[in-house]
């Protein structure tokens, strides 16, 4: 069964091809195809997960893809271990839920079939990414998910902001991918192979090490920075919210953005072999996390809050991995995938109901949308790390992973506090209180069942998926993603209590500010205008890029344009003018001497041809006669 695991991405691929080629006119058929394909993959993924978890051996199946002699030999293949199985489950589950959800959300969209084709493409690419057994195939899939992301962000390309966001996402992540490629090339130069096994072997035996490995690892991490929206390339993710909300849930919360985390987790051996690189990873992770969380405190767009929350949580995972917390990072990856996609889908449900993204125009929606509200609340509790929901267990592992690095511990707890605060700010502003926009409130309604059922399913997962990490289970979550050797932080009741307390206090503050209105948030904002505006404008990152990168680039371009217009064109024109003169002279010479010779030859040839053309009679029998006559004559002359 494992040896046919490559079929998992093939099903969505087929559905994409069939939709694109055949059924794109029939929206029902297209959606049905896509959902069927991903369902099959979903079932297969679960089957594989149960096989693998009972038998923690790494399975590899590969074949030669490119064999250019001993120096250039690239096999591609798949590798199945606990981490892959976990990723398969995450990807297929969320993809299935999102595709079902989209039936309701995208209902009536003129490019419905194309939407499903793109979703299938994305699913295929993402599944290939997690199944790959080498960096090469992983990179190919990596670019494919980028393409799918671009297509889906800009899905409503009539909107200028959407198509801009698509381009921004694509170009920004490409910057990171450049680092990825350089890292890959360095690794290939260093150990002559790109298979995970081979590279890790080289790192372990010390064939690859020192400053070279550190540089390679940092470049490799560049890919993760781009894909997982870490500082300083995080700017694309909030803009990516221009895409359809289910897409945000699938790609920009649960799966594609964690590809970077997956990359770091998968190649953790490399980072562990390079101290400096690992610390860089950890620092970038915590800085991203802190910054995004603080921005999230003040945003008013429901999806942007969630986007910054995503960036923040990704930073968490990256940090945990950088500190060697393999289990913590991957565990949080999984739980986060479930509750964050739930949050996004819930937000989508709200947007579907009130047709706005601005939380200032919402409020009191709980009475109208019970299911959405409750599932959203569950997810908010989960992300805030409240016992016994999934976020509690995974966040606790992350906190535990920072033990020994006091700075990280403090910052992590601070982020946890902020997370709890802004999530509940969001919840209270959206679902409780009095409706601030009566008109929109009147028209609000609960979403159809195809949208609420996935919410309920994901809510259940958000609650229970953390229980794999229960402290009294043998090895907890690490036995699931068993990578190199069992590595599991002991469960710290003290730490757990502290982080729970932090989460609760964040919720409490939000409760006071936005539910009870004891503290006026606006007064705090006006009392600290500098900080507030900095946060509201996302630390001016986009503006900084505008000033530091894009403006100078324009100036440089204009300079070159001037250079091109005046200097180069002047040269060209001068050359042209000279050419014309020279050409006139040549024409005279040509007409006089060369043509004379050519015409003379032509005249001669024509005369000759006119004489001997009588040999070509055009009669087949004549030719045949000559053939046989020649045969006889040749025989006689032999």
């Amino acid at each position: 069964m494992l040896s046919y695991a490559w079929l998992i991405p093939v099903f969505p691929l087929c559905s994409m091809a069939v939709i694109m080629l055949l059924t794109h006119r029939n929206r029902v058929l297209s959606a049905a195809l896509s959902i069927t394909a991903v369902s099959i993959s979903f079932l297969y993924a679960w089957a594989i997960a149960f096989t693998v978890w009972g038998n923690p051996e790494v399975q590899r199946f590969s074949f030669d893809w490119l064999n250019l002699g001993p120096s250039m030999h690239i096999p591609i293949g798949i590798q199945i271990d606990g981490l892959t199985a976990m990723m398969l489950i995450v990807v297929t589950t969320v993809a299935l839920m999102v595709q079902i959800y989209s039936l309701g959300y995208m209902h009536g969209d003129p490019r419905f079939s194309r939407y499903y084709a793109f979703l299938s493409l994305f699913t295929m690419a993402m599944l290939t990414l997690v199944l790959a057994d080498n960096f090469f195939l992983m990179f190919v899939a990596w670019e494919l998910v980028g393409l799918a992301s671009y297509l889906l962000i800009g899905f409503w390309f009539e909107k200028q902001s959407a198509s801009d966001a698509g381009k921004k996402a694509f170009i920004t992540t490409r910057l990171g991918d450049l680092g990825f490629i350089i890292g890959l090339l360095m690794i290939y130069t260093g150990c002559g192979t790109l298979t995970f096994g081979g590279v890790f072997e080289a790192v372990k035996t010390g064939a690859l090490g020192g400053a070279f490995l550190t540089t390679a690892a940092i470049f490799l991490f560049g890919g993760a920075i781009g894909k997982s929206a870490q500082v300083p390339l995080h700017v694309w993710l909030p803009d990516a919210m221009e895409g359809p909300t289910p897409v945000s849930a699938l790609i920009h919360a649960a799966t594609m953005v964690v590809a970077g985390v997956y990359l770091v987790a998968r190649s953790l051996t490399i980072f562990m072999g390079a101290e400096t690189a690992a610390m860089t990873v950890a620092w970038i992770g915590i800085i991203t996390s802190l910054m995004a969380a603080s921005i999230g405190l003040v945003q008013n767009d429901i999806k942007r809050v969630l986007a910054f929350s995503t960036v923040s949580q990704l930073g968490y995972m990256i940090m945990a991995l950088g500190l060697g917390g393999f289990t913590a990072g991957t565990f949080h990856l999984m739980t986060h995938a479930f509750f964050k996609s739930l949050l996004f889908l819930g937000a989508g449900s709200v947007i579907h109901a009130v047709h706005t993204n601005d939380i200032r125009e919402m409020g009191g929606l709980h009475s109208k949308m019970k299911t959405t509200s409750i599932t959203f609340l569950i997810a908010a509790f989960a992300i805030a790390g409240i016992f016994p929901l999934s976020g509690f267990w995974s966040k606790d592992e992350i906190v535990a992973a920072t033990l020994g690095h006091p700075v990280f511990t403090v910052l992590t707890l601070l982020v946890a506090f902020m997370t709890a605060f802004y999530m509940f700010r969001l919840y209270f502003l959206t679902f409780t209180g009095t409706p601030r926009d009566k008109h929109k409130f009147e028209h609000a309604h609960e979403s159809p069942k195809v949208m609420t059922y996935p919410l309920i399913f994901l809510a259940v997962l958000s609650v229970v998926s953390g229980w794999i990490g229960l402290p009294w289970l043998h090895h907890g979550f690490s036995s699931v993603v068993f990578h190199e050797e069992p590595h599991h932080a002991e469960f710290h009741y003290g730490l757990a209590a502290i982080s729970l307390l932090v989460g609760l206090s964040g919720i409490g503050l939000a409760y006071l500010m936005y539910y009870k209105r004891r503290i006026d948030p606006d007064r705090i904002a006006t009392s600290m205008p500098g900080l507030y505006n900095t946060l509201l404008n996302k630390y001016y990152f986009d503006e900084a890029y505008e000033v530091l990168v894009i403006k100078p680039y324009y100036v440089m371009c204009q300079g070159w344009f001037w250079f091109d217009q005046h200097i180069i064109d002047g040269l060209v024109n001068g050359a042209g003018a000279f050419g014309v003169l020279w050409g006139r002279f040549q024409r005279w010479a040509d007409e006089t001497f060369v043509d004379g010779a050519v015409n003379g030859i032509g005249w001669l040839t024509r005369g000759f041809g006119a004489t001997i053309r009588y040999l070509q009679t055009g009669s087949l029998q004549n030719y045949a006669f000559i053939v046989f006559a020649a045969l006889v004559i040749l025989w006689i002359l032999r």
């Binding site: 009669s619 029998q621 004549n622 006669f625 046989f628 006559a629 045969l631 006889v632 025989w635 006689i636």
Partner: protein, 185 residues
């Protein structure tokens, strides 16, 4: 003179006479009929050479199909009264010379050549050995010939299809102008 010799000379006479009529007959349809006769004679020669399967195939394919095609082509391109003034071109004397020269050359060389006559027995049965050979040792040529036949079939259809001759579209009937109708009325 034994039976085989008798049969051989009879058949050889038949074939050669028929062949000569094929190439000299003024009426092309007669040529075709003589061709059938000659081909039938060749089938007889095959029987003498202990190749009965081939003889049957010869009759089936040449008489049944190829000659039929010839006759079709003749019927589609000529009429019974078509007694062309000349049925041969001006190459007759030179052609005769070359043919006879060729005959002399071939006959001379084959009488000079010592052939390695083998006295092994022929395999029993009609088509069994042949069939086995076709599907084992000669499988590739066999397949290629099949493809060739298919290609010839399609090619012939394409070539001979009426539509392949691009004809000028006939001028559309222009309706009479109104005034003309009035005048006619």
């Amino acid at each position: 003179m034994d039976t085989i010799s008798l049969a051989f000379y009879a058949l050889a006479f038949l074939i050669i006479a028929a062949a000569i009529f094929v190439v000299t007959s003024k009426n092309i349809f007669h040529s075709a009929i003589y061709l059938i006769l000659a081909l039938f004679g060749v089938a007889g020669i095959y029987v003498l050479l202990q190749a009965p399967f081939l003889a049957a195939a010869q009759v089936l394919i040449y008489v049944g199909a190829v000659s039929m095609l010839m006759i079709f082509a003749i019927m589609l391109t000529a009429r019974i009264a078509d007694q062309t003034i000349r049925h041969t071109n001006e190459q007759v004397p030179t052609g005769l010379l070359v043919s006879l020269g060729l005959l002399a050359v071939i006959v001379y060389s084959l009488w000079q050549t010592p052939f390695a006559i083998s006295s092994d027995p022929m395999p029993e049965g009609a088509g069994g050995t042949l069939g086995k050979l076709l599907l084992t040792q000669f499988a590739l040529p066999f397949e290629i010939v099949s493809v060739l036949l298919l290609g010839a079939l399609i090619g012939a259809v394409v070539i001979a299809k009426k539509d392949s001759v691009r004809r000028e579209p006939e001028a559309p009937m222009t309706p009479l102008p109104k005034s003309a109708e009035k005048v006619a009325g």
